[in-house]
């Protein structure tokens, strides 16, 4: 298809989803239980269009130029122009495909899952709005518009987490998610403002990247004296330039850090990760769509998109890598002891996002496109297998009347064979077993980090080795916790209450088909991506900036010893899980009665990070608000006493009867009063 036709898809894709949202919202009363057709039809159409875009951008051997479509400008104030340009390059195309393809199957699944729910139409309206916002977020070429959609995504997330508004816990979780991500977004908007302050009104990506790298190159040139330095004057001049370069770098570091706040908030990285597990209060397909496959990846997308900016600040990248690896390890440790299946999956999402950030943090001017490629590859495979895992969990919940505690499940593999297979595929992907997709992408990241550590000349090399070690440990833990969840859910004897276990059945076709499709996707996506090696080559288009362009010096050969060792670690972890949880679950249930260890308690409560936040932030605020309430009530009491005063006086003087509500009586009173006043005044004047 010609690029001219394809470039129209850029506005059609978001427009379709917005159309579905608006038509469901306006026909809310009429539609009721057939609203899902709008969402499914539009998302499916968007998925087809995105696939065509993907094929166009990845299919051609020569680097396809990004497709651009301009919708004019949104706002123009003085030198500030915010344009409404849409652009698809390989990064955006991959995101669009993931969002719409996974979204389609989740919409199909939701149609059965949300059946008979009173808010059926509302659910699908918000879901369409969410997909619209997400498409807009990846299509725009402008930081400000990106921020607008970024917030839109946050709002949709709030609405969907709190979808069952009558549930107190759901309302609380929605609020928590909104506030925590808002906290990150405050940093994001400050970052945007600082960009404005430092580099002028350049919010277009390419314009910004060019400007920043040119300014920096100029400063670098000034700082390096070209002629041998003889006099003190020259010396001081280059010193001044060096100082300016340093302050420029500091400024850039602060900008990157502020933008990172937004990314960490949205992608649930430490210290903002607390909202994601709570977000499981929403319907399960929502968890699959928003809190696993698409929305939380917005932070990863942001950094990938701003690669040319971040690559200039190695310190910021080190922060990204450290936070990513730390979050991955922390979340994996927490997931080990959780008993709620959805919470295990939520923490595993946090952990896998940590991997993506680790990959992005491992980029430098040489590994740039490789890092983005590895992060995005993992993002895509993760979207597939995590959506699959969540939908399997949803299928289980649908069948067991919302019982999702793995201590009460068990033995489901006979009752729900297809769900069992689907969950198994997802679990194997997550554990990183060859040839499932998770293996390829996770291995890619590990290799990348190792390479980064190997060729690092600076004093930070040992940090990258440490991060690599922690990532390998996390991989083992991942295999362990997901195998634990799998064995406890599907093996052994059913521990469900009697009246529920009789009714456990395989879900309907509407739910099974998405599971099968996503299983196939999760199985083969990795193989496909790895075979084509598309993700490593195509991201050169991100590097249109002259000074940040990478040189492909490093041959990307598979590191077999690494592959074998990580696979071994995963297999050992799964075997451990099998012997602990798979074989003899009766002993396990007896074991549950014993006192849990200190470490187990720590892990179960998420290392008490929530409690720390409650003590450090919530408690002081509560104390302040309670104090102000007491003060306010004191003043209120004083005023109330004053209010009683006229009443008391009037009852003493017996003048209440004067207040009879009859206007003309008031008129007479006024007349009399004025007359008396005037007469009195006249008498006073006469006396004087």
């Amino acid at each position: 298809m010609s690029p001219d036709v394809l470039s129209h898809f850029l506005w059609i894709i978001p427009a379709l989803n917005l159309l579905a949202c608006l038509s469901i919202a306006s026909l809310y009363r009429v539609l009721r239980s057939s609203a899902h057709w709008f969402t499914i039809a539009t998302v499916a159409a968007s998925a087809v269009l995105s696939t065509l875009l993907l094929i166009h951008l990845y299919g051609e051997q020569n680097e396809a130029k990004p497709l651009v479509y301009s919708l004019g400008s949104w706002l123009q104030i003085g030198s500030l122009t915010i344009s409404l340009n849409l652009q698809v390059d390989p990064l955006t195309a991959a995101m669009l495909f993931t969002i719409n393809f996974v979204g389609t199957w989740i919409a199909v699944f939701s149609a059965a899952y949300m059946d008979k729910d009173p808010g059926f139409a509302r659910y699908f309206a918000i879901m369409s709005l969410f997909i619209f916002c997400m498409c807009g977020l990846v299509l725009t070429t402008n930081l400000v518009i990106l921020f607008v959609f970024w917030e839109g995504v946050g709002v949709c997330s709030y609405l969907l987490i709190g979808y069952w508004i009558y549930k107190r816990s759901a309302a609380g979780a929605a609020l928590k998610a909104f506030l925590v991500t808002r906290l990150g977004d405050a940093g994001f908007i400050l970052g945007i403002l600082l960009i404005w302050f430092s580099f002028g009104a350049t919010f277009e990506y390419t314009e910004l990247f060019t400007k920043v790298s040119q300014e920096r190159a100029q400063l670098v040139r000034d700082a390096r004296p070209t002629i041998p330095v003889n006099t003190d004057a020259d010396m001081s001049e280059s010193d001044v330039a060096q100082t300016r370069l340093n302050s420029f770098d500091t400024n850039l570091f602060i900008i990157c850090l502020l933008l990172l706040c937004g990314a960490f908030g949205k992608s649930a990285q430490f210290p903002f990760h607390v909202w994601l597990p709570e977000a499981m209060e929403g319907p399960t397909p929502v968890s699959a769509l928003i809190h696993a496959a698409t929305m939380v990846t917005a932070g990863v997308y942001l950094i990938a998109r701003l690669t040319p900016l971040f690559v200039l600040s190695q310190t910021a990248l080190l922060v990204v890598a450290c936070i990513g690896a730390f979050t991955a390890l922390l979340a994996a440790l927490i997931a080990l002891t959780q008993t709620d299946l959805k919470r295990i999956l939520a923490y595993s999402t946090v952990s896998q996002l940590g991997y993506m950030f680790l990959a992005l943090g491992a980029m430098d001017s040489k590994l740039g496109s490789l890092a983005v490629g590895a992060a995005l590859f993992h993002l895509m495979t993760h979207a597939f297998f995590k959506a699959l895992l969540f939908l399997s969990a949803g299928s289980i919940m649908h069948s067991t009347a919302n019982i999702i505690d793995i201590r009460s499940l068990g033995g489901l593999r006979r009752a729900m064979p297809i769900t069992h297979i689907a969950f198994l595929v997802g679990a194997l992907c997550l554990a990183g077993i060859i040839p499932f997709s998770g293996f390829w992408s996770k291995d890619n990241i590990l290799e990348l980090v190792l390479e980064r550590a190997d060729h690092d000349q600076t004093k930070f090399a040992y940090i990258y080795y440490l991060l690599f070690g922690s990532a390998v440990v996390t991989a083992g833990l991942t295999a362990l916790y997901i195998a634990r969840a799998y064995f406890l859910t599907f093996w052994g004897q059913s521990r469900l209450p009697h009246e529920v276990s009789e009714h456990v059945h395989e879900s309907s076709l509407w739910m099974v088909v998405p599971l099968v499709v996503l299983s196939l996707g999760a199985t083969f996506a990795g193989l496909f991506g790895s075979y084509l090696d598309v993700f490593n080559e195509q991201f050169n288009t991100l590097w249109q900036v002259p000074h940040a362009s990478p040189t492909h010096e490093i041959p990307h050969a598979p590191n077999y010893s690494l592959i074998i060792s990580t696979t071994l670690i995963s297999i050992v972890a799964i075997l451990v899980a099998y012997f602990m949880f798979g074989r003899n679950q009766d002993a396990l249930t007896a074991d549950e009665q014993t006192q849990p260890g200190v470490l187990q308690e720590f892990s179960y409560h998420g290392f008490y990070i929530d409690a720390v936040y409650a003590a450090l932030i919530v408690l002081p605020l509560t104390i302040i608000s309670k104090t102000t309430r007491v003060i306010e009530q004191t003043f209120n009491g004083i005023v109330n006493i004053l209010v009683q005063l006229p009443k008391v006086i009037s009852s003493i003087l017996q003048v209440r009867a004067l207040h009879n509500g009859f206007i003309q009586f008031y008129g007479v009173s006024m007349l009399l009063g004025t007359t008396i006043f005037i007469v009195f005044m006249l008498m006073m004047l006469r006396m004087i």
Binding site: R656, A657, H659, N660, G661, F662, I663, Q664, F665, G667, V668, L671
Partner: protein, 138 residues
């Protein structure tokens, strides 16, 4: 030249008519017109004194009064219309609910015929029809 006292007596007359009307009539619209009458009496005072002293301040202030009176009449007529929609009557004695709790309402037993007369005031006729005296309400 007409002496100042002439103006002042006309103004006083206007004010007094308005005052008496305001205190005795029961039709809300009449009450409102009486208030306007009092206002114009005061305005006439202003103009007269301004002319007498050769000073425009009073005239300017009169213009202010006109502007305020126009706004006020717009609001007041809207209120009257709403009151009429609720009570189906223009009798002011119907609206006493803001009195102190426990007090009896002021009743208009003696002025019954006045009320009837007030209610029987000609409403705005449709064009071309001779205004008749309708006694039934609504």
């Amino acid at each position: 030249m007409i002496p100042l006292t002439a103006y002042l007596s006309v103004a006083t007359l206007l004010f007094t008519i308005g005052l008496i009307g305001f205190l005795t009539r029961r039709n809300v619209i009449i009450l409102f017109l009486c208030v306007e009458l009092m206002l114009q009496g005061v305005a006439l005072n202003f103009v007269a004194f301004a002319r007498y002293q050769g000073n425009v301040t009073g005239q300017v202030f009169t213009l202010m009064i006109f502007a305020v009176a126009a706004c006020e009449s717009a609001i007041a007529l809207a209120f009257i219309l709403l009151l009429y929609r609720v009570g189906k009557s223009l009798n002011i004695s119907l609206w006493q609910s803001l009195r102190e709790p426990g007090l009896p309402a002021v009743s208009d037993q003696q002025s019954e015929e006045v009320v009837v007369l007030v209610d029987a005031m000609p409403k705005l006729p449709r064009a071309g029809i001779e205004p008749g005296f309708e006694t039934e309400e609504g």
